[in-house]
């Protein structure tokens, strides 16, 4: 079976105003993509995501999208106004602006919302205010909103940031299930070890693409040093690379 290319970046430069954050980025997002973009703060992960979303026009290079690509975006939980007056159902229905402009949901939309909430295990939360949800439930709510758009590619900004280990595990497994159902997924993260265990492909970014490949190919000291600007050791556990800080003796120890 041939896999179609959904989005292709060629020699893309991008940034904000006169500041270029990303230089010469070549990246292809295919229909079977399941990729994590990793890098330190300020490396351009979110900028890369925004280029893929079409929120930033590149200052150089080209972005090519297939005609039928349909993108859905899950924002960082930290950027959301949790005091905004919306219930879970109201929030999820925002995804349907193209389908219907009347404020109230159609019978089809009510069924679609129930089905997606059921699938994500939060069916009983539809009438709750968004502030009342736990971190994992908040992430599931935004996934539900994204899924209601019936996307071909799902882009997530730091989906494992600010959630506990169990929630991180749940979210990554959920994304794995969606990928297995045929959805392309690209996410940004700081969490190298979590990604190594769950994602087949990683892209290391630090102003440019440092390396791309499987976790075993890119989680190596030389790539990590160029990406994070710090020396990190890599151990192996059950065949998976694990990143650990290099020990620096404290002054007391010396």
């Amino acid at each position: 079976m041939t896999v179609s290319t959904l989005i292709e970046l060629s020699a893309v430069n991008a940034g904000y105003g006169r500041t270029t954050v990303l230089h010469g980025v070549n990246l292809t997002i295919d229909g079977d993509e399941f990729t994590g973009i990793v890098g330190p703060s300020g490396a351009g992960k979110t900028t890369l995501l925004r280029v893929l979303l079409g929120l930033i026009s590149p200052s150089g290079g080209t972005v090519t999208r297939s005609e039928d690509v349909r993108v859905a975006y899950v924002p960082q939980l930290e950027t959301v106004d949790w005091k905004f007056p919306v219930t879970v159902a109201e929030c999820i229905l925002m995804a349907r602006t193209e389908h219907r402009f009347w404020p109230w949901p159609s019978a089809d939309e009510r069924r679609a919302v129930s089905a997606v909430l059921e699938r994500l295990g939060i069916a009983d939360l539809a009438d709750r205010h968004i502030r009342e949800l736990s971190g994992g439930q908040q992430q599931r709510m935004f996934l539900a909103r994204a899924l209601l758009r019936e996307p071909s590619v799902l882009l997530l900004d730091e989906p494992t940031s600010g959630v506990d280990i169990n929630t991180r595990h749940d979210v990554l497994h959920l994304l794995g299930d969606l990928h297995a159902d045929g959805m392309a997924i690209v996410l940004t993260t700081h969490d190298l070890n979590g990604m190594a265990a769950h994602l087949p492909n990683l892209v290391c970014v630090n102003g440019h693409i440092v390396a791309e490949g499987s976790p075993r190919e890119v989680i190596i000291p030389s790539v990590l040093e160029e990406t994070f600007g710090a020396r990190l050791d890599v151990l192996e556990h059950l065949g998976m690379p694990i990143v650990v800080d290099t020990a620096h003796p404290t002054r007391e120890a010396i």
Binding site: Y16, A43, D81, W82, P85, V86, R131, R149
Partner: protein, 290 residues
């Protein structure tokens, strides 16, 4: 009952009551979007900017004042958004420069050439005297326009208010929706200016919406409650204005402030928690990093 019926025997009060009630409802309705977008300062600034256009038109072409001041207001709104979008100076600074300059021009024109229309104080603090049928018609037209915009663009307005970034990523033309909202805001301020007054319009954009926010967690209910609260403030404020002999705008705003105090006290911690993030200029969406 006599207290309620007696003022109604005067034609000017009937018109004033109608306009004040509808103005309160309109400002309460539009105010929900303004407050949730952290744009209340724009409301405050725009009312002052429109005063400049209002003054100029009163002096030179009074019969076209709605059109002229409306265009002036819309131009100011677009200038503010455009200056702020370029990012060199913040929206607050842009409002400070553009709208206060426009207001200063209005005051200068009034002082130099005098007024050929409603008195200066009336424009500032609101008056129920001299309300014409055409003003009522304009108010009704703007209400219908605002209602249609919200009805037909409900989800887009909600999405762009809640999370403009994700809305843009979902294919919504955020700038176009914002421009539409600015037009609704400028027109709403313009047609309510006479009764509520330049200096008090912003309060009526904010108070009903904040009171409604303390009472509900649902956006749909907040929109309905804010409209109702604005309507009641206009109604009760007008009667108080009649009996107290005070400008209508001041009484309408004071009724709103009283409603705020009552709801603030009655809803307690829960209400305060709900309203805590309302009109937060440095909200979480400002934290998007590279």
């Amino acid at each position: 009952m006599e207290t309620l019926l007696e003022p109604l025997s005067f034609a000017f009060f009937q018109k004033g009551l109608l306009v004040a009630t509808l103005s309160g409802a309109l400002l309460g309705f539009v105010g929900v979007y303004i407050v949730l977008r952290g744009m209340s300062y724009i409301g405050h600034g725009l009312s002052h900017a429109i005063f400049g256009g209002y003054a100029a038109m009163q002096l030179f072409a009074a019969q076209f004042y709605v059109l002229g001041a409306g265009l002036w207001g819309i131009a100011s709104a677009i200038a503010i958004t455009s200056v702020a979008r370029r990012g060199r100076i913040g929206a607050d600074a842009a409002i400070g420069v553009i709208t206060t300059a426009s207001f200063a021009l209005g005051v200068a024109l009034f002082s130099k050439f005098g007024s050929s229309g409603p008195a200066f104080d009336n424009a500032l603090f609101g008056s129920i005297l001299g309300i014409t049928t055409s003003q009522i018609v304009w108010l009704l037209l703007v209400m219908v326009f605002a209602g249609l915009v919200v009805l037909l663009r409900y989800r887009e307005l909600l999405f762009t208010t809640f999370d403009p970034d994700v809305a843009a990523a979902s294919g919504i033309k955020v700038a176009r929706v914002e421009a539409l909202l600015m037009i609704v805001l400028a027109l709403s301020i313009l047609v309510t200016l006479n009764v509520v007054g330049v200096t008090l319009v912003a309060a009526m954009l904010v108070i009903p919406a904040v009171v409604a926010r303390m009472l509900t967690d649902s956006f749909g209910w907040m929109l309905a409650l804010s409209t109702g609260i604005g309507l009641l403030c206009g109604l009760i404020g007008m009667y108080l204005s009649y009996y107290a002999g005070a400008p209508s705008g001041t009484m309408i705003v004071l009724v709103g402030a009283l409603a705020f105090l009552i709801v603030f006290t009655v809803t307690g911690v829960r209400g305060r928690e709900r309203a805590a993030g309302v009109d937060d200029h440095a909200g979480p969406r400002a934290t998007i990093s590279a």
